[in-house]
Symmetry: C2
Subunit: 225 residues, 2 copies
DNA sequence: ATAGCAGACGAACGGCGTTCGTCAAGAACA
DNA sequence: TGTTCTTGACGAACGCCGTTCGTCTGCTAT
């Protein structure tokens, strides 16, 4: 066994003043870990280890794992590119914004799932919400309708990101199993599925773009009750 | 310590022929557990305990926890009420079908998250897919567009279900925190959010209905690229 | 009668979130 | 200066979890 003192000295040498523990430092470390290992590999214990301390120490700054997830998500949402302001009509700017949101979620494995498990309220989410509202207002959507519409747009985008994320992280045998299930369907029992074949399974990027147009067109043509 | 023999006799008396282990029995037990405790309380160990055996025994019939989740999901999807066939035009029947899907997902805490983490391919999912395709075909949507549309509809429905599920299971302090964050936003920094106030947070059931109309209208008016 | 095999499962491994009690260092105060 | 109080830090432990390994057992086919 190495004595605690010597261990302490070595680690201080590596990281001279040690990291002063703080919520920011914890979130940053968690974010590093997330980018490297994905949500599945993000644990309080690993964050603590990376900060050269024990897991109990984190609880001063973070209530529990779920709160850490929320904090990490909002931190990441700061990377969403907000408004080009000029360059294109509101519709294209809206789509660009959502595509940026989509890309940010997809950049970290498993993060999209987090976006679907919380109602985030951090400052970056507020900025994103405000930007969406003002883009819709620019498009002539009245505010009450826009309030519901942005929920729709954000939820749909996160859901598609989560789906693509799963598709990426699942092993290929899983995907092959799905494709096989679709193909082996009898023409009598499920004629429509049979007729479509691979069309159902093909996961191209065009889909999300089309989905955004569907949502925007739908919002424009569907007044609130 | 009780000898293994006596334990064996007692448990056989309680459950005379013991449960012959099988994938069906495992899924049924898991489903019971899910309905009672939600996804968070569903573990292989508890399923095994309920079947009066050890966790290792389940691995003959189930590859891992994820596969169990998929199996449970498809089993539950059997409860979705498929087509009233008459009674209403295609649009209302489509909405009824998706509402049923929505209700089934929401009936078990955490299940909607599973629907968002897998690309299910079980028989019940196939039946649901086929029903959706034929309803859209009845509505005059060509098959290629319908293939993308059902993905949109299913994903959106599951996402909304997941969101409402979270809202339900989160403690109220969490929700209050969100509402407070929305209210305390400055009118200068985020005028639109400020103007909307509670409108953003209010989670009524009307929203999903409106969302379905948005999606359907959008699908009808947006041809595939 | 026996060999082979597949289901069953006890035990253990390594990981996890979280809590508790203790400790040290600094602040507030006398 | 001396003393109390507060607060961050954290070692240790608790009770879960999924999964694997090696062994046993009862049946089937030879």
């Amino acid at each position: 066994m190495i004595s605690p003192e010597s261990r302490r000295i070595v680690s201080r040498r590596t990281r001279p003043a040690k990291s002063p523990l703080s919520q920011e430092a914890i979130v940053s470390t968690a974010l590093e870990l997330l980018s490297r290992e994905g949500m599945a590999g993000l644990s309080l214990r690993k964050v603590a280890a990376a900060l050269d301390t024990g897991p109990a120490s984190l609880y001063v700054y973070v209530a529990d794992l779920n709160e850490l997830h929320v904090l990490v998500l909002d931190r990441v949402l700061g990377e969403v590119e907000l408004p080009p302001e000029q360059a294109g009509d509101w519709r294209n700017r809206l789509k660009a914004l959502l595509r940026s949101y989509f890309g940010v979620l997809l950049a970290r494995p498993g993060l999209a799932q987090v976006a679907l498990s919380t109602i985030p309220s951090g400052p970056n989410m507020m900025a994103l919400t405000e930007a969406l509202l003002s883009l819709l207002a620019e498009g002539g959507v009245d505010l009450r309708r826009a309030a519901w519409a942005i929920d729709l747009l954000l939820l749909q985008t996160a859901a598609v990101a989560a789906e693509q994320d799963n598709r990426r992280s699942q092993d290929e045998s899983e995907l092959a199993r799905v494709a096989e299930a679709v193909h082996s369907v009898s023409a009598e029992q499920h004629p429509n599925i049979h007729a479509l074949g691979d069309e159902l399974v093909s996961g191209k990027g065009d889909r999300h773009d089309w989905a955004l147009d569907v949502l925007i067109n739908g919002v424009l043509s569907t007044p609130r009750p």
